[in-house]
Symmetry: C2
Subunit: 164 residues, 2 copies
């Protein structure tokens, strides 16, 4: 199983790609896509589509994990998050990916054991699991890896459950 | 100039396609795409992508007109509208379409002369311009045609302005 987790945004989208095989876990790729807010939205949406389309093909991704969004103070940002998520849904369908979505609380709970964990606590756990992660801009990446891990454990659990 | 106007939604998306040539206006196509809410969102998003991609190619569409969304009572619907708009932005970029966006008030104002016009008043004007429109489910279609007309007049105006 190869799972892509994305913490999406129209300015920065963090991602992680993790492979699980014979009870071993590899972090294949991680990082973030940064797009200038000077570019028109239609262009940013297309850049994001092409970026993740290539990642899915390059790593033979089979599953996609996302965080369920919540409406913050800024409704326009919520709408923009919708643009990005719409593109990821499209990619999931076109590439036949299994889709796994989790509330922010659920992700923090599975990674740190504490549903209201702050970002740096999530980052610490992720860095313990993958110590070779580059430190700069870590929250964009560690948050995305936490989503990926949550998706991985959830998908694994379901698979075992189905197998028995 | 051939313009596609869409009144998007994850359940029903109305659309109109209008051609303007030598001061004549043709309604090339109109209707709506209805999708069952039983289908997963990733599938609906893909159906919508393929539907409008085909329409754009079939009619050699050069411009896309959309209504700017406003946050209603239901934040989840606002997010879903984001999914659909994200897909339309992607299509606009991939097919090199000019993008025209208008506030609901602006559309009603240009079509009926009254920014707070109700849907049936918009429909009456649209049906006067295009009397052969099928009447059933008309608001989904007439709203979309109003968006298309607004885009057409706006684009024409800009073109004339640039030409002189």
């Amino acid at each position: 199983m190869i799972i892509l987790g994305v913490d999406p945004g129209l300015q920065v989208s963090g991602f992680g790609i993790i492979k699980q095989e014979h009870h071993k876990t590899w972090l294949l790729d991680c990082g973030y896509l940064k797009m200038s807010s000077q570019k028109p939205i239609s262009e940013r949406v297309a850049i994001l589509h092409d970026f993740f389309s290539k990642k899915i093909i390059q790593w033979s991704v089979s599953e996609l994990a996302l965080e369920t969004p919540f409406l913050g103070k800024n409704a326009q940002n919520f709408l923009k998050l919708g643009y990005v998520r719409g593109i990821l849904y499209l990619l999931a369908h076109h590439h036949g990916l299994g889709l796994h979505e989790f509330a922010p609380r659920e992700i923090k709970q599975s990674v740190t054991g504490f549903g209201a964990a702050p970002k740096d606590q999530v980052a610490r756990v992720v860095l313990q699991l993958f110590p070779k992660l580059p430190i700069q801009d870590k929250y964009d990446v560690t948050d995305a890896i936490a989503i990926t891990l949550c998706g991985l454990w959830h998908a694994e659990h379901n698979r075992v459950g189905l197998g028995r």
